[in-house]
């Protein structure tokens, strides 16, 4: 089985490096197929490992020693257990689909090979992040996915906005990563190990303050990667990247790494319920906050991005309240339907010549039947209608909040569920229903390649069945590692009222969205209102950051530049000028006249003689001189 572990881990790397060989050359279908094939191999290996794990095994290998110095010992160790194998399945499934889809999506792009090289490199980093058996390996993967995210957001680097968004994402993550690194340092400082096994064995011995500090710092790292408030602005801007990238990185895998970290470190977070409550509260806040921004946005991809943000908030609520298996379950279900939604949006963009404003679409269901069905079902799953995946995972989070007696969180999440349904179907309605407004703008939509739709279909199936088919098996499997908890409302009446009530509420929100946006009427009175403007401008937070951080920083940099000019540059230039000046003054010595050269020679001889005499004088009278200085 060890071999499967290595295949699962390194096949994407092989694909990436092979594609990189052809990175600068013209599009070759081979790289796309080869990278996808490698991903499929990784997927199959993960599946075999999953079967092994279901039989009750875990796999732990130490490939080689990485750092061994003094008391610090960190190997390149990889572990496949109940939690990591779940993540591996999510990552490999979605990335295989996205790879195949990208062959079609990037068909006309001249950097086709480069794209696959980056995309496979991302999957490799993600696998390192997930499978590493120590925090430092996780951190390497963490940075690796960050770099790949930067490369892929800025994939179309000739676009100013894309490079800006890439840098924004990278810098925001860097801020959070610093905190995460501090968290890792605190753990090493107090436990002397970075292996999960060692940490979990020793974590009970630590005092509360240290645990709280470590928990908070690690969570700040998770906040950056998972784009939680106040580090959330980069995710919406990251939509500048190609759509398959948004589906894979900014919906299904990388942004969920923060949730994964909290789930993976569950023995630590179990000991600090205060921090857990903070995580849950922040999660609920972000769920609502992001959902409200999604209500009014005019950019198809940004709406889905805010929805991702909102769903990440849900996951953090579950993780914060100690329902780690629920968080991981929602992570999995969300990965499937959100990736599907993004890929559908990619099809629409392709059909509409990269147009993103859904108000310019309308009535696309005739031209794009397959995409229409997929996106609608994905939205249904996102809204959490029975029996789709979202119902089983998202409603479970609501129940967790209810059972744990956090009624405020429950209310917030319930309202957010309504908002989720509303904005999802606002989007579907604007794109696919109503009049064919795109004709006014001269678009000629066409359905995507057939194999792209076929590639998407596994996600569709998973979005439908992942909930009711996998929940039981998954629960049985992960409780070996994560705290068990059924989170059932014991009172039958309350349970049914809650479930059916939520369903009705969500359906009502869907119908309302349909009614309101079928004709894509723009209500000017609402749009000029304060709340609409507030939401449309993302609560003015990007503007606030610009005023609060960017502009003062630019001013500071300008000042520093002046100091740099006056001190550093001036001193370096000064030294150079001294040499230049002496050379300039003394070059007249070299006038070619033998007589004057002889004179300089004599002068040099005299200088040498004098210095030799002085030197000998000092050496022979050293004692006397020392005495003189001493006195």
């Amino acid at each position: 089985m060890e071999m499967y572990l290595y295949i699962a881990l390194f096949a994407p790397l092989v694909g990436s490096l092979t594609a990189a060989l052809f990175g600068a050359s013209k599009k070759t279908m081979f790289t796309g197929l080869f990278a996808s094939g490698m991903l499929f191999a990784s997927f199959v290996s993960s599946l075999l490992l999953l079967i092994g794990v279901l039989e009750g095994n875990t796999y732990h290998v130490e490939m080689m020693t990485w750092i061994a110095t003094g008391d610090l010992y960190v190997p390149f160790g990889f572990v496949v257990n109940e939690v990591t194998v779940t993540m591996m399945m999510v990552v490999t499934t979605v990335s295989t689909v996205v790879h195949v889809y990208s062959i079609g999506y990037m068909d006309h792009d001249k950097s086709f090979n480069r794209f696959f090289s980056y995309l496979s490199a991302f999957v490799f980093s993600m696998m390192v992040l997930v499978m590493s058996d120590n925090l430092l390996g996780l951190f390497i993967g963490w940075e690796g996915v960050g770099v790949c995210s930067w490369l892929l957001i800025g994939f179309w680097y000739h676009k100013e906005s894309a490079t800006w968004a890439a840098n924004e994402a990278f810098i925001m993550n860097r801020i959070a990563d610093l905190a995460m690194l501090i968290g890792i340092f605190i753990i090493y400082w107090n436990l002397g190990t970075l292996q999960y096994e060692g940490i979990f064995a020793g974590v009970n011995e630590l005092n509360h303050g240290v645990l709280t500090a470590a928990g908070i710092f690690l969570f700040v790292g998770a906040m950056g990667k998972s784009a939680q408030f106040p580090l959330h602005t980069w995710l919406a801007d990251a939509m500048e990247g190609p759509t398959p990238v948004s589906a894979l990185i900014h919906a299904a895998t990388m942004v969920t790494a923060g949730v994964y970290l909290v789930v993976r470190m569950n023995p630590l977070y179990d000991l600090i319920p205060d921090v857990g409550l903070f995580i849950a509260s922040l999660g609920a806040f972000v769920a609502m906050f992001a959902a409200t921004m999604a209500l009014v946005n005019r950019d198809m991809k940004r709406i889905i991005a805010y929805s991702t943000l909102s769903q990440l908030g849900y996951m953090f609520v579950a993780a914060g309240l100690g329902a780690y298996w629920v968080a991981l379950f929602h992570l999995m279900a969300h990965a499937f339907f959100k990736a599907l939604l993004f890929l559908g949006a990619g099809n629409v963009m392709h059909a509409m010549d990269n147009e993103l404003d859904p108000f310019k679409m309308g009535g696309l269901r005739k031209a794009m039947k397959g995409t229409f069905i997929m996106m609608t079902l994905a939205s249904v799953a996102l809204a959490g209608i029975f029996p789709f995946a979202g119902f089983f995972s998202k409603d479970l989070i609501l129940e967790v909040a209810f059972v744990e007696h956090h009624y405020i969180l429950y209310t917030v999440l319930l309202l957010t569920a309504g908002l989720t349904a509303f904005y999802s179907f606002r989007l579907v309605s604007l794109i696919f229903h109503g009049e064919e407004r795109y004709k006014l703008f001269g678009f000629h939509p066409h359905e995507a390649y057939k194999y792209m739709l076929v590639a998407m279909s596994p996600l569709l199936i998973l979005a439908i069945i992942a909930g009711f088919l996998f929940k039981g098996t998954y629960y049985e499997m992960v409780i070996a590692m994560l705290p068990a908890g059924e989170y059932h409302v014991h009172n039958q009446v309350v349970y049914w009222v809650m479930t059916i009530g939520t369903q009705l509420f969500v359906i009502a929100a869907i119908l309302f969205a349909y009614r309101k946006y079928e004709n894509a009427k723009i209500d000017l009175k609402v749009e000029s209102g304060f709340f609409y403007q507030l939401l449309f401008n993302q609560y003015y937070i990007p503007k606030l950051y610009d005023e609060l951080f960017s502009k003062p920083y630019v001013e500071l940099s300008k000042m520093m530049w002046k100091i740099d000019n006056a001190v550093v540059d001036a001193s370096v230039d000064g030294i150079a000028n001294v040499f230049y000046g002496t050379g300039n003054k003394t070059h007249t010595m070299q006038n070619g006249n033998l007589s004057s050269m002889l004179r300089w020679m004599v002068l040099g001889l005299v200088a040498l003689l004098v210095s030799a005499a002085v030197f000998i004088g000092i050496v022979t009278n050293a004692d006397a001189i020392m005495k003189l200085l001493g006195a």
Partner: protein, 101 residues
Amino acid sequence: MEITLTHYLVLSTVLFAIGLVGVMRRKNLLMLFFATEILLNSVNIALVAISHYHGDFTGQLFAFFIIAIAASEVAVGLGLLVLWFKRENKIDLDIMTSMKG
């Protein structure tokens, strides 16, 4: 008055100074050769005198070598000088500036 080592060395130094001034001041190439000969021979005097003083023949041997080298140097130098004179009709040092950097 007995002639001691000091006298020889003083003579050598005086000759060396005369030679040095000649090297610095003379503009005639022929005179420059004379000056260098004076320099070399002043050193020879010092070498022989010190050698005699120490009863060691090494210094006198050195003086022979210097005389031989000086002779060959003058031979080559005079040959070049004659060539130069044929070309330029002058042996003034100030016109020899073709090595100017």
